[in-house]
Symmetry: C2
Subunit: 213 residues, 2 copies
Amino acid sequence: MTEAVASNQAGLKAEISDFKRRRIREEACHLFYKHGYESTTLDAIAAALNVTKPFIYGYYKNKSELLMDICSTGISLSLAALDEPELDKRPHSDKLRRVVERITKLILRYQEYIVVYVREEKNLEADQARFIRKQRNAFDHKLADILLKGQKTGEFSVDDPLMTANTIGGMLTWVSLWFVPGGNWSETEISAHLMRMVSAITTHHSMEHAYAP
Amino acid sequence: MTEAVASNQAGLKAEISDFKRRRIREEACHLFYKHGYESTTLDAIAAALNVTKPFIYGYYKNKSELLMDICSTGISLSLAALDEPELDKRPHSDKLRRVVERITKLILRYQEYIVVYVREEKNLEADQARFIRKQRNAFDHKLADILLKGQKTGEFSVDDPLMTANTIGGMLTWVSLWFVPGGNWSETEISAHLMRMVSAITTHHSMEHAYAP
């Protein structure tokens, strides 16, 4: 998201400004993750970066704007991952695998952002929370659209594309809540596992068991 | 969990004591859900129940004990759902379906408890957090054990039972984070969907796509 903004602006000055904004956001996210949003002051964020509070005000008008930027990171990047034009040339099943792979990578890279979003969504202002919910909704619909199109070509077999898209989003998001870097499972293992899971729930043809009494 | 305790104790007095404890926990959970753990005082919980703070101290020694009781509710009940002896007589695939059905029901019934756990886990004391993590671990292993046993009988086909169990747990928990009572999807629709999803990821036989370059 921020990277895209930077490349649309001109020159090194914009890049540096963007870099500073990103570092503030990163540090704020880390402190929100460790101590909670409510217990973290702008003073603490400034201290962690060894800058003054007015420096932060040059980039964020208040703590709430910071929280919004952090909370919208995961969903904005995930939406962008769905929209990459190069994926449109591929078969739907390929596209879905690439999307799952990319979003898993994003979730592992931005793990603390996702966790802060899940925990602190309640502290967003009403219009901010609504905006993010709309983006999540758009994500589910775009993903459901891939499932529907792949259903038409016979690549997928899905009962309820929208609910399945929601479940896929949940399976991916879930990783942020338990993944431990350097723990039992590597990023590649997790990514491969999730690609298998998504493949299974989108191509399964014998579901009669699920309805048996 | 609490229901079981009550039935092990003697008579109406124990039942009433248990009822009071449950009501305190319920109200605390609702306030933690609405306002966050840190912003909720024992005074606010007492006021919501129209009782005194000493009344609460008769059941919970502090706010932290309340949070622990709330956070462990979902996992304790889910573990109990895995252990119901009557399920042991059934084929593993039946057992898995029943377990998914029961846990989905629990998650919808105790939705606010699960959400408070996900959000406020960071506020648990270290030994409390460790205890719950051990229970979650035990849950994943017991569920993986069902998958392994069903694999041996040819009912299931699973690559990594433990990671798959974790993913199933995540798919079910996810519901608590988005379900809106009276919203687009009914409890039955969600339950049927999750049973299909779990059936798909445990019986899928053609996964070669997931590995394609």
